[in-house]
Symmetry: D2
Subunit: 384 residues, 4 copies
């Protein structure tokens, strides 16, 4: 079977993440973009489609038109899946419609702008039986997967403490809200949901902590703040508890000057501490009590890595893979599973609806905690 033909919703001119999805799918190699509804403005949708070389007859003026007309095509000529890269507030409607029209969905994170919308998507997944992947990019990095595998192996004992941060500086000045398409919607509660930095990148941090530890965040005490004049959090920190008994700290901010895209995590187990930083993703540092610190290197030929991790890398050691390749790993894994591949050892290679719902619950609890003076709030268990 050839690559999976897909259509994209959102991602027109001026958008960042749409291009990332398209390049990631190209690197993955098992996807092929054949249709698109790239903007909610029909004219812009058409221009954007032409610009990236989509055939005019499959460049649609709206996502509803795309779903309707693609569904009407013969099975061997229609798209099989859609990629949804609209702002948070515009996730649920096209996602649910796509699922109900019989398409599988790959969707940017966070899953939605509020718990209700996310729940509705989850329900649609459940009743349609279609599949969905949420692109929490950072779990696509090979050494993040290796860290998870090492913790899961039990050889390092239990998780004692996690420190995770995701900090940026692109909203550090008042003027950053003007003339910036990304900023405009992300800091407007009406469009991005109630959460700002905690929704935009705090969820990545929480997801990364849960992914590597294999545990859930069960309680949180969060304090969110914002620069004067802002309506939504742009900075915050939290203490949290993990389901296995460990403790953690989490910081998410878009106003910490000099931090560019600084997602970094420390996971301390009984017998080792694992350290990974997204800006230098091709090394994993592991500290021990009684022997030298180790630097594990990424690379398709680093034989000490797990076989499944070797398999997803494109280049031998020392030929750095980056953000786009991590993103491509998500597309590839989802694509392979759409084509029938088995899920390896309980880690499908992408964030599931269950992961995404936990992300929504993380947000809800963080906001509730902060609004009440940074008190402790329990996270409810979510069911996908």
């Amino acid at each position: 079977m050839g690559p999976i033909p897909y259509g994209m919703i959102g991602g027109g001119q001026g958008a960042f993440i749409g291009g990332v999805h398209r390049t990631a799918a190209a690197i993955a190699g098992n996807w092929q973009l054949v249709a698109g509804a790239l903007s909610s403005t029909p004219e812009k949708a058409r221009t954007s489609g032409a610009e990236i070389g989509l055939p005019a007859d499959r460049t649609y003026g709206s996502w509803s038109e795309m779903l309707e007309r693609e569904a009407a095509l013969p099975a061997d000529r229609r798209i099989e899946a859609v990629a949804i890269v609209t702002p948070n507030y515009a996730h649920a409607a096209p996602a649910i419609a796509a699922l109900e029209a019989g398409f599988d969905v790959i969707i940017d994170k966070p899953l939605a702008d509020c718990v209700e919308a996310a729940r509705a998507i989850a329900d649609a997944v459940a009743h349609t039986g279609r599949r969905i992947a949420v692109t929490h990019t950072y779990t696509g990095y090979p050494l993040v997967k290796q860290a998870r595998a090492l913790v899961a192996s039990g050889k390092f004992g239990k998780v004692r403490r996690v420190a995770v941060k995701y900090t940026q500086d692109w909203l550090s000045r008042a003027a950053d809200l003007e003339n910036n398409k990304q900023a405009a919607w992300r800091v407007d509660p009406a469009q991005s949901g109630d959460a700002g930095a905690f929704g935009d990148i705090g969820t990545h941090a929480a997801n990364l902590a849960e992914f590597i530890t294999g545990e859930r965040i069960t309680r949180i005490c969060a304090e969110l703040t914002m620069l004067e004049g802002r309506r939504i959090d742009d900075d915050g920190a939290a203490l949290f508890h993990l389901s296995g008994g460990g403790k953690g700290t989490l910081t998410a901010s878009q106003v910490l000057v000099g931090d560019i895209n600084d997602l970094a995590i420390d996971v301390y187990c009984d017998e080792a501490g694992l350290h990974w930083r997204q800006e230098e993703p091709n090394t994993l540092r592991i500290g021990y009590r009684d022997r030298p610190t180790e630097i594990w290197h990424a690379g398709a030929n680093r034989a000490y890595l797990d076989p499944g991790i070797l398999a997803i890398q494109r280049t031998p050691g020392g030929h750095p893979e980056g953000y786009l390749e991590a993103f491509a790993n998500i597309y590839r894994a989802f694509g392979e599973q759409l084509r029938g591949a088995q899920v390896p050892d309980g880690e499908p290679g992408f964030a599931t609806i269950a992961d995404a719902l936990r992300g929504m619950e993380f947000l809800r609890a963080s906001l509730e905690s902060s609004r009440n003076g940074a008190v402790w709030v329990d996270l409810e268990e979510t069911k996908a």
Copy 2:
């Protein structure tokens, strides 16, 4: 005038910090060890004194004997100051006695094992008019002082967020409590006070945060934990507020595997982020929004450093100074002030009684917070 003749209380065989104080004083160059009461066991006091070459007639069997006999010597032959390097619980008695006997005091941190004892020392300082320095070593590093100066200059704006950690792994196993002199008293509430890791190293972290920012920690929400079977905290984390409105996180632990002596701080201001890590103390990283990150280097000839910081360094750039030199900077600064030097720009070069009392209050509030389920607790303002 020649070097300051001093006597040491504590620091006999098997102790770590006593030797550090002696070497630091030797590097400083303006101190001379001439007497000692190195152990509370008279026989061990004598053996220890002989081992480090103290004259037998000034190797005393107890600190009270030392204070009494030295005070009785002619002014030009007696000690001028004492260095106190006993365990926390044994700080107050000799410190107060020394002050009252007319000696200046340099004392290891934390100042005492409880607020009451610390308060008593402070009162003795106040009514005797003697001087005291508390050896919060890490503020002795030149680039820590440079960071403080940069923040104080106002050029980077206000402090937004601080992340400070001090983490070690030497108590990471149950067995670490046995056969370890340092461990034995540090984890026993009767000897070290109520606080374990937060008292031992969390106070260093808090002091560093206050030193660099020039602000006070005003509120804290702390959660302290310990390994099964322990009676005192060996791990913990906190959210806190600064007096200038900024927020912070603090982690202190002695059970985080692979972290050797990892004191590290990030201070984010409106226009720059400053980053320093004790294990590589000769660089200071400063991140900006719109220009390249800078690496500032220590060294007596790095002309971009402040004059006062150039002056305390012993070697030109690229000839690393370390822990002992930082410690020596405290001795040197205190010694110079005992000899009449002016305090440069409000930073005396060592922790004062006021700093130490704030450290005690930090501990008190952290413990109260944690005991009540990690709620927010205000720190009271302290008066030296």
Copy 3:
């Protein structure tokens, strides 16, 4: 105009670099693979073509068949260019044939296995008027281009000294010659030419030095060695002179254990030293005499980078790009120029035939130097 339709020569199953070229072209976005002669074994060529999804009717059994039949297609349906990814010894024949058949060529480095073959390709380029790009990958990294631009600006003065190394360890053991397709031909003089490590990766190092300095290597004193039992160099080092009067050292080895793919360069000018390392390609370190060291960061939004360098990056700062993206930059630049784009400021974005001929001359002189006891040998000026 849509993407450039191209055919690939070489790159069948088991080959590494062919897949890299294909992914790079996909990331570039302005190329489309539509034909291939992926192996010199017809059956394998077909299997390999099917595996990567080439249409059967454009999967050819030999490169001569591909060139002949593609040239016979109508202009709007034939390939416009070929990518040649065969071993060194099999570069010249298909390259010349492709040029003469009217196709532009993008070809893996080194250009050929000997000066004569390279010269023949250059002659074919000259008399056909077709265009050619040689994929010296590492000059595709944005910060390498930035380093070149900084040196070219003259603000740092003249180049004093260069230290460049390219070291690996994948041939560090005798057994590495067995059962390794890459190793087999690379260490056989009949297939790779006379030079081993100096040809395979030393040429990258020399190219990088010439690219960043904007100067030529004019003299060299090289000593090449090899493990016992080998017939071709696997390790060597050299002193060299630059055309501007500066001096340099170069090391190239495939037997230095622990070095994975360690291409690294230091370029010292009168007023600054520039440092870049391929394994962490998203930072450029610049040292100064009188001010802090700077770390320049890659990223499409790091406004201090030159506009042309911002333009070729796909992701904002902190979202690392890697080896495949650097490779893609070469495809993109060559593709844009095939479509008529102007060459920006004398740097076309890929290695030209002139660069490649200098690489061949570097090799020739290095080998001559080494064979005569590591004496100094002049490099002849090459004409493309």
Copy 4:
């Protein structure tokens, strides 16, 4: 027995290295400065002596006076050794006189300004039977000793290649020759000998390479250069051979901008590559072919270090030791051996006369090579 009473020759006001020797001796703990002839100008000698607290009656106006009058004191009141910290050209006379007067000698490197002078010192050592230590500081670092021990153990196989550099920038500008006491004599052939940077710091690099490998440099091809207007080399590089068959490169420069005091070495053996850099001396990186890279940490409690290396460290892991502590290790080891300690496993802990003579021969051969157009020159075997 108490500390070794010693007198210092050179090291008066304005000198750098004299103060370093004095502090190192103080840190070592087994030396005591009791006399000095700190300057060749009697008045300055006296002022300098008073400044550092030497008793007036043992502050001498010339080294000959010091040697004569100290030798005349009763055995239990005279100095036992002298530390010589004069410029290179003024090493031999006081060293030989001191040895002949019955004193042991610790002397700054290089041993002398020419082979003849060094030879004369060696002869004096031989016929007097006194002992001498040369302060090649950098072999005093604990992890340098650990690297040597690892190579010596044979577990990593033979040495294949060494890359060593020692580069600085403090002479990078023409004006650096004016108003700089260090610069003035170091760049004047009449005072420092024929070699500039190669003598001042290239000898450190060569010594470090020989120390860690346990081999000798047997042949060298060196090219030394200098800025316009200079009379002595300030920059240079070399290829060299080791006695065990390995190859090497060496760079020494004082004009490479941004390099502060960058002594760094890579030693590649059959099964591992060892990497150490003086500016971050508390880590040793070891790369392997088939397993993660290791970072070894300094510290008196890092149990994986050799016992002899643990023993010389003053602080536990994570409390950085630096340049002064490395220097102190040399004083301590020499002092212990003066007091009768056995030399551990063939490594006395300081550079011997044999090491120093090899350093002189390294210089001679480098200069001869460079003067003849960077040809290969054999190093003669030296006999102490």
